[in-house]
């Protein structure tokens, strides 16, 4: 097992390469997923605001829905 981590003396270079790959792959998932949530949240608030405006115009009709 320690042989595995030792990588025949190349441990630093091999593990640094794999570590960096892991960081880049994970960042490539986290960033778009966070943005996806952000966009959905923003658009949702926009819909809520617009419907609030519309129901404001229609005065009391909003309560029926």
């Amino acid at each position: 097992m320690s042989d595995f981590f030792h990588m025949g003396g190349y441990a630093f270079y091999v593990w640094l390469s794999y570590g960096l790959t892991a960081v880049i792959l994970i960042a490539n998932v986290i960033i778009p997923v966070a943005r996806d949530k952000q966009v959905k949240r923003d658009l949702m608030m926009r819909v809520v605001r617009e419907s609030a405006k519309e129901s404001g115009k229609e005065n009391n009709h909003a309560s029926s829905s």
């Binding site: 025949g8 270079y13 091999v14 960042a27 490539n28 778009p32 996806d36 966009v39 949702m44 926009r46």
Partner: protein, 245 residues
């Protein structure tokens, strides 16, 4: 065929298709990465010349292939966008650029870590390395151009033109090891001829390459999906999607 393509160009159908494909691509990529890591780090024997340092290949080569593959996706989408004015093609191209740039960066850094041991230097102005660095700058220029122009339509046309003009770098990268006498080794993997690499080393490499492609498929669709929602925010289908969330 054409009606099918036309339908795919429809934002709503694309959105639903992306929703279905993302988990398949994502979990597929994860499974193949686990298998590829097992094959590459544990199963494959150490190289008789390079010892265990050759294992950097399993991330370096797929990353380098992705850097070019993603650029080709951008260039082709850009052409589709300019010819048929399909907005979705622009969305795919622009969503691909940060992913492509990160793979190019990864290929350069893992290459230089590998080179430090094999060649005794982190960097050399070799044709392959220089053209790959140029590709990174093209990606960054493309992203920069897109974010510098406010008007989305103007930005889309400018980016598409840039991407098509700069596609010339791809054959240069690919053939750099044959055209010039470079320190970077020639290709060991070939579709036409028998690959000059043993199958116990080759299979994990191909598995990782497919894993990276699926990974790109998943993340580009996530990016494209949010861009699409934002751009189509005034349409009814987006409001329906949001209502069902």
């Amino acid at each position: 065929m054409w009606t099918w393509l036309h339908k795919l160009g429809s934002p709503k159908i694309f959105y639903n298709l992306a929703n279905k494909l993302i988990p398949w691509f994502g979990w597929g990529a994860l499974l193949l990465i686990i298998y590829g890591l097992y094959g590459g780090l544990i199963q494959a024997p150490a190289d008789y010349q390079q010892g265990d340092s050759f294992r950097i290949m399993y991330v370096h080569v797929p990353a380098a292939w992705m850097s070019m593959f993603i650029y080709m996706v951008i260039a082709i989408s850009s052409a589709v966008f300019l010819i048929w004015k399909i907005k979705l093609a622009d969305i795919i191209a622009r969503a691909s650029a940060p992913i492509g740039a990160s793979f190019t960066f990864l290929a350069l850094v893992t290459g230089s870590l590998w080179g430090k041991h094999m060649w005794g230097t982190f960097w050399i102005w070799d044709a392959r390395l220089t053209s790959e660095l140029l590709l990174l700058f093209i990606y960054l220029g493309y992203i920069g151009l897109g974010s510098a122009i406010e008007d989305r339509r103007v930005a889309a046309r400018a980016c598409a033109l840039l991407a098509i003009v700069c596609v010339v770098v791809i054959p240069i990268i690919h053939y750099s090891v044959t055209w010039w006498n470079t320190l970077h080794q020639g290709s060991s993997v070939s579709i036409m001829d028998k690959s000059s690499i043993d199958s116990s080393m080759l299979i994990p490499l191909l598995v990782m390459a497919i894993a990276f492609k699926l990974f790109y498929g998943a993340v580009v669709l996530i990016r494209a999906r949010s861009d699409l929602l934002f751009q189509e925010r005034k349409t009814n289908w987006v409001k329906e999607v949001l209502a069902n969330e």
